[in-house]
Amino acid sequence: MSGKIVLLAGLEAEPDDRALLAACAEGNEEALKLLFRRHQPVIRRFVSRIMGGRQEDVDDVVQTTFLEAWRSAEAFAARSTVRAWLLGIAANVSRRHHRGRTRRERFLALLARRPVPPGPLDPCEALTRQQLVERVRAGLSELPHAQRVAYVLCELEELPGTEAAAAVGVKPGTMWRRLHEARKALREMLERDEGTP
């Protein structure tokens, strides 16, 4: 897919993210498309990990995230990267989306989706890994939203701590505490599961 768009009369460029947002703020739909193409894989992966639920929910949240970005493009304050900013929006949109669903619905959605099997491993190893993936998935879904966001942003999306903190509008110390608590809670859940016959 070509990333070239005409942003300004006579100027063809491979725009960086900030230029794309500036163009979005001007109402340039091509810029919105390019922003979407460029970042939707990361946002989709993030939302999927945060929500752990049905694909249509994930897609809806992803689309709403870009719609919010389009509407707020002018307000982007460049305190973080555009990617981190989008992740912050996605975190908020997914929280709001999630609130409407009951715990049971989430649980059923969890059961309905099976992860893609990992790469070529020994069958026993693969089974152990698959079980671990399932337990981590269940563990993540039990975390409070803020901790889940911290874990996925820092640990899985590998955003630097300060950037993750800026993305969701908290201090770095708070983000660290959330990450640590998420790690701790997951560890305790895994430990508890191991003790379950």
């Binding site: 979407f36 989709r44 689309q63 992860p115 803020a146 899985l156 630097p160 701590g161």
Partner: protein, 357 residues
């Protein structure tokens, strides 16, 4: 060196962008210990395995066709003032009135101003210049989705089943016959001020806060209503009315969740709940304090409080972890208390009292 608790293991593993989790001496001592300790090495490996397993959680791949479809749909939604798929196909209208205000329905400020006085049945909205928002009406529900700027809302008496509110990406403000002002930035709620009636603010995971005329909810900064609530709660605590105090401190932090007094209020709420004998709510309150203010100067003290409460509740292992953190982070005055607590926790763990975990 005895095995460090999980807090220190987690700090040792750290994360890029978080500095100062350990000083050089602590790091060197921990690395030396972990290098020769199978238990601690296993803890670190478990953290990696946890991350590795979580990394396998990925969405189903999108093919090019569905991607194009999503892109087309996104652009179509961006052109509309509403999000029909999410909010339904209800009637949408905007009301522009006061001369001092300009009402702009914002899809990036590109026109789409639809004036239809009276079509918004339940409420009346005035917006400052530059406000970004969308209105959504479906049946007996009307919502203003505010992205940025300040609006003044007036709502007539609502019949049973009717709802009117303002939402941002992080909060909802719902009313029952009132006049109030709402301000947002980057889709996030910044402030709410009530002129008439009552408004309930539900922000993130905080408990809902009810505002009465003259009161203001603000995310940050000084908030007179929050300060009043704090002072009243503190007086209640001093007079032995611990339960009332706990409610008051909750209200004080709820009125300005990131405000100047919110850390104080959360701390004292934990103290009040503990004094009221409400152990589990106190544990939760202090846990919330640490999740929000884990780097605050009072955090080591809160770890000791939590340790004591958990110990009283028979959760000796969790108690020991908090005492250990307090020992690591606390000052010379706090360390003896943490040491006593830790010894007691270890003594009880060694005895394996029934119900301990």
């Amino acid at each position: 060196m005895t095995c460090p608790d999980f807090d220190l293991i987690s700090r040792l593993r750290g994360h890029v962008g978080f500095d100062g989790l350990l000083d050089a001496a602590q790091r060197a001592a921990l690395e030396a210990h972990v290098g020769g300790c199978s238990r601690c090495s296993k803890e670190l490996r478990l953290l990696e395995a946890q991350k590795d397993a979580a990394s396998a959680l990925r969405p189903e791949a999108s093919d090019d066709l569905s991607l194009r479809r999503a892109e087309t749909e996104l652009v179509a939604r961006a052109r509309e003032p509403l999000e029909p798929r999410r909010w339904g196909s209800g009637r949408v209208a905007m009301v522009a009135t006061a001369a001092a205000f300009a009402m702009i329905l914002a899809v990036l400020g590109r026109a789409s101003l639809e004036e239809e006085p009276g079509a918004l049945r339940l409420g009346h909205v005035e917006a400052e210049h530059g406000v970004r928002m969308a209105l959504d009406a479906e049946g007996p529900q009307e919502w203003v989705r505010l992205s940025s700027g300040r609006i003044l809302v007036e709502v007539q008496h609502l019949e049973p089943g009717q709802r009117f509110g303002v939402s941002t990406t992080d909060a909802e403000v719902e009313v029952r016959g009132t006049r109030f002002e709402v301000e947002a930035e980057r889709g996030m709620l910044r402030a709410v001020r009530v002129e008439e009636g009552r408004v309930e603010v539900r922000w993130q995971d905080e408990a809902p806060v009810l505002l009465v005329p003259g009161e203001r909810w603000s995310l940050e900064g000084l908030n007179p209503a929050a300060e009043r609530a704090f002072r009243t709660a503190f007086a209640d605590l001093e007079d032995g009315r611990a339960r009332e105090a706990a409610k008051g401190f909750a209200r004080a932090s709820g009125l300005a969740p990131a405000g100047a007094a919110s850390e104080d209020a959360r701390y004292w709420r934990g103290v009040a709940l503990a004094r009221a004998g409400l152990r589990q709510p106190a544990v939760e309150a202090f846990g919330r304090y640490l999740s929000l203010h884990g780097e605050a100067p009072r955090a080591p003290e809160v770890h000791v409080f939590l340790g004591k409460l958990l110990l009283d509740g028979g959760r000796v292992r969790a108690a020991a972890e908090h005492f250990e953190v307090a020992l690591t982070l606390g000052d010379a005055e706090l360390r003896p208390k943490a040491e006593v607590g830790l010894q007691e926790a270890r003594r009880r763990e060694a005895r394996r009292e029934p119900g301990d975990f």
